[in-house]
């Protein structure tokens, strides 16, 4: 059998299980006496082992086997986690992840797990004798070479499959045997009940069960069982587990995922592109229908519009991914960083289930990584310093996602020392970033200073982060996604970064504005209202033209001037008011041409282009229009 076609699936599933291991280890670390996570760890490692053995990845199998052995002993022993044991298990998990990744790309021979395997063995041997794990690691003097892989097939392990044949099925014994034969093709079958010999008897009533090992999932097992024919009912249970003291259920056990299929992301992108084209053509059809004034054509145009809108909604929904898929790796990261820096940090994640377009979510990992590193390294103080300031010694960092109107806000907050505005102001003045007479930095100015490439005020740039560099990366990335980032920092109290992102990138509703002979699209995500220029009184605030809207100053940007369009602007023209968090801006355009859905196409701005465009779109008549970037205009 050619196994290479399964490698991708193996990788994806192994990653899921190893990610679950991280969560479970962290949970265990938080309350070492509660052994509930150990059962989940054991099962996750066991599943990886089974899959790796099927794929023929001997080293992964061996490593997983050793880890599983140790976990089994821990589980039976019922003793709380020691720090040494947790460190060893974290190490083993990381080694396993590395080994899995290398195996899949056929670089298995580069895997070097001798040391961690030896430590796992040592710990298991010691635990088996009733000792503590730390002693075992400490007393090991010479590294033990990795022993030959052990692949076990536990007699009572595997999923329980219960089958009922149709009442009218003839010769049920023969049918039952066919079911068993089919099942054997996907995994080792044992514990057949009643025993196969009973199938020859005419009294056999068509109800039987068996256990199946191997890596086959619930859906696959059900499929092969049904493929044998005449099957009325089949239930496929979870992995058999031996009773364990205090072993609780794994919160998101992989086998509880029902009726989902994996789809290559490229497929979804392709589908999105096609629907994008459909949306463009739909726009054209609507324009034609408006010209034709034929009720029949109108009717078709309306139906096409409705259908394509529904199709579009479905595909956007299919692209939605809960943020935990990216967030889940951060608890471990924050823990490791805090340990490295000798700080005590409680890390909390909120709004895990909030969904974002997969394409956006994929881009969020890096910016979040930088912000979290900054928070641990520079944001929160050492325990001693916190005590001196009368704060609780354990610092808190919160990563939260909140759904807003048409966007999602993701924030990273810490309760640390806050940003030292004075020293940043000094530095900003020296660098000429702000007016030399400025006395204080607003949050906006602070962000602008911090986001300058290479800006750092950290006294020493640590291996973890140098303040500024990360923010520069984060700001650039978020802006490229059509989002915004803002900062709130209070000295002594802490710092919060809030990123606002559109829910989806692919198709957005936009205002179409005319300036000169060109049309521009402005996504509605950040449009709060439109007012009229020439009617509204203007004023000047800090040297900038502005209007006052319900007691708030809204600075104006004349798009005509900004883009260098020649000719005179109309005397009365619309102002599009943009709002992004606390910031507002009024964009003065020549005219409003309507609202429509636009398909966002990536856009490589030529050198020297103003940083106010985030992409391009094709209008219904086939003419391209540039998309204005709200973040760049504010």
């Amino acid at each position: 059998m050619d196994l290479s076609q399964y490698a991708e699936l193996f990788l994806a599933e192994s990653r899921e299980h190893l990610s679950a291991c991280n969560q479970l280890l962290l949970e265990w670390e938080r309350s070492p006496a509660n052994l509930a996570p150990v059962g989940g760890l054991f099962r996750a490692v066991h599943t990886v082992k089974g899959m790796a053995a099927t794929m023929g990845y001997a080293r992964v199998t061996d490593l997983a086997h050793r880890a599983e052995n140790l976990l089994d002993l821990v589980r039976r022993g019922g003793r709380p986690a020691t720090d040494d044991l947790l460190q060893l298990l974290f190490r083993a998990r990381d080694a396993l992840e590395h080994a899995v990744e290398l195996s899949v790309v056929a670089r298995e021979d580069e895997i070097d797990v001798a040391e961690v395997v030896a430590d796992l063995e040592g710990a298991a041997a010691h635990l088996g004798r009733g000792g503590e794990v730390g002693a075992a690691i400490g007393t090991r003097t010479t590294p033990v070479p990795a022993p030959a892989p052990v692949v076990e097939t536990p007699a009572a392990a595997g999923r329980l499959v219960q089958v009922t044949l149709r009442a009218e099925a003839p010769l049920k014994g023969g049918r039952a045997l066919l079911v068993i034969k089919k099942a054997q093709a996907v995994g080792p079958v044992h514990a057949v009940t009643p025993p196969e010999s009973a199938f020859e008897a005419d009294e056999f009533d068509g109800r039987f069960s068996f256990r199946i090992g191997g890596a086959a999932g619930v859906a696959e097992i059900e499929r092969v069982v049904r493929a044998a024919g005449e099957v009325e009912h089949v239930t496929v249970g979870g992995e058999e587990r031996r009773p364990a003291p205090g072993a609780g259920a794994l919160p998101a056990a992989p086998e509880t995922k029902s009726r989902h299929i994996r789809v290559d992301l490229g497929r979804l992108d392709g589908l999105m592109d096609l629907i994008g084209e459909l949306v463009t053509v739909r726009g054209r059809l609507n324009e034609l229908a408006a010209y034709a004034r034929d009720p029949a054509i109108d009717d078709v145009a309306i139906q096409v519009s409705r259908l394509s809108r529904e199709l579009q909604a479905e595909i956007i929904q299919a692209r939605m991914t809960p943020v935990w898929q990216v967030f889940d790796r951060f608890p471990r990261l924050v823990r490791d960083l805090a340990r490295e820096l000798g700080k005590q940090v409680a890390f909390r994640v909120e709004g895990k289930e909030i969904e974002l377009d997969r394409a956006i979510l994929d881009e969020l990992g890096d910016p979040l990584l930088h912000l979290l590193r900054n928070a641990v390294d520079h944001g929160v103080e050492s325990q001693a310093e916190r005590r001196r300031r009368g704060k609780k010694p354990e610092a808190e960092i919160v990563l939260a996602a909140v759904r807003e109107r048409a966007s999602v806000a993701i924030s990273v907050s810490d309760d640390g020392r806050g940003i030292d505005r004075k020293s940043i102001l000094e530095r900003a003045k020296r660098d000429g970033v702000v007016d030399p007479h400025a006395e204080a930095l607003t949050d906006d100015q602070l962000l602008r200073v911090l986001a300058r490439p290479g800006f750092s005020t950290a006294e020493a740039v640590t291996s973890v982060s140098g303040r500024g560099v990360g923010i520069d990366v984060a700001v650039t990335r978020i802006r490229a996604l059509g989002g915004s980032i803002e900062i709130r920092s209070v000295e002594g109290k802490g710092t919060t970064f809030v990123m606002r992102l559109p829910v989806t990138l692919a198709i957005v509703r936009a205002l179409i504005a005319g300036v000169g002979a060109e049309r521009y699209a402005l996504p509605l995500t950040y449009v709060s209202e439109t007012v009229e220029f020439g009617v509204q009184a203007t004023t000047t605030v800090e040297g900038r033209e502005a209007i006052v809207l319900r007691d708030r100053v809204v600075p104006l940007v004349h798009l005509r001037r900004l883009l260098g369009v020649s000719g005179d602007a109309p005397t009365r023209c619309p102002i599009i008011v943009l709002e992004m968090g606390e910031r507002r801006s009024g964009i003065v355009v020549d005219g409003m041409l309507g609202q429509q859905e636009i398909v966002v196409k990536g856009f490589d701005a030529p050198q020297g282009t103003l940083p106010v465009f985030s992409g391009a779109t094709i209008m219904g008549d086939g003419v391209p229009a540039l998309i204005l970037d709200a973040g760049g205009l504010l």
């Binding site: 003839p170 014994g173 023969g174 045997l177 034969k181 005419d202």
Partner: protein, 120 residues
């Protein structure tokens, strides 16, 4: 291209009936056999995509024929044709390597379902 079938049964009636059911569903019946040994011989000559095999036949029975055929072609797709009350024989045939079975009296839909399972 349609699938080719070898129909093995000692009764002309049964052979005709099975052939008709399969031909109407678009299969090409390329040969017929009346005994187990003929079935083995014709399987070698014709290499059909599918064999329907009666269990009880003179000379060499269907189960022995399955063993002979599978010995030379482990992937052979053989559908057993059994009568009610032959549970033990059907079990034996499956252990010998038959891929599925139908039970007389034949209902065309059941025969075709079984054929699809075997070929699928």
């Amino acid at each position: 291209m349609s699938h080719t079938v070898l129909v093995c049964d000692d009764a002309i009636f049964m052979r005709t009936m099975i052939s008709d059911i399969l031909a109407q569903a678009g299969f090409e019946v390329v040969g017929e056999a009346e005994t187990g040994s003929q079935a083995v011989e014709k399987y070698r000559q014709l290499k059909p995509d599918l064999v329907t095999m009666d269990i009880v036949m003179p000379d060499m029975g269907g189960i022995d024929a399955v063993r002979e055929i599978v010995k030379h072609d482990p992937d052979a797709k053989i559908l057993m044709c059994s009568a009610m009350g032959q549970q033990a024989l059907v079990v034996e045939a499956i252990q010998a390597g038959a891929k599925d079975f139908v039970v007389k009296p034949f209902q065309p839909s059941r025969v075709l379902e079984a054929v699809q399972r075997v070929l699928g």
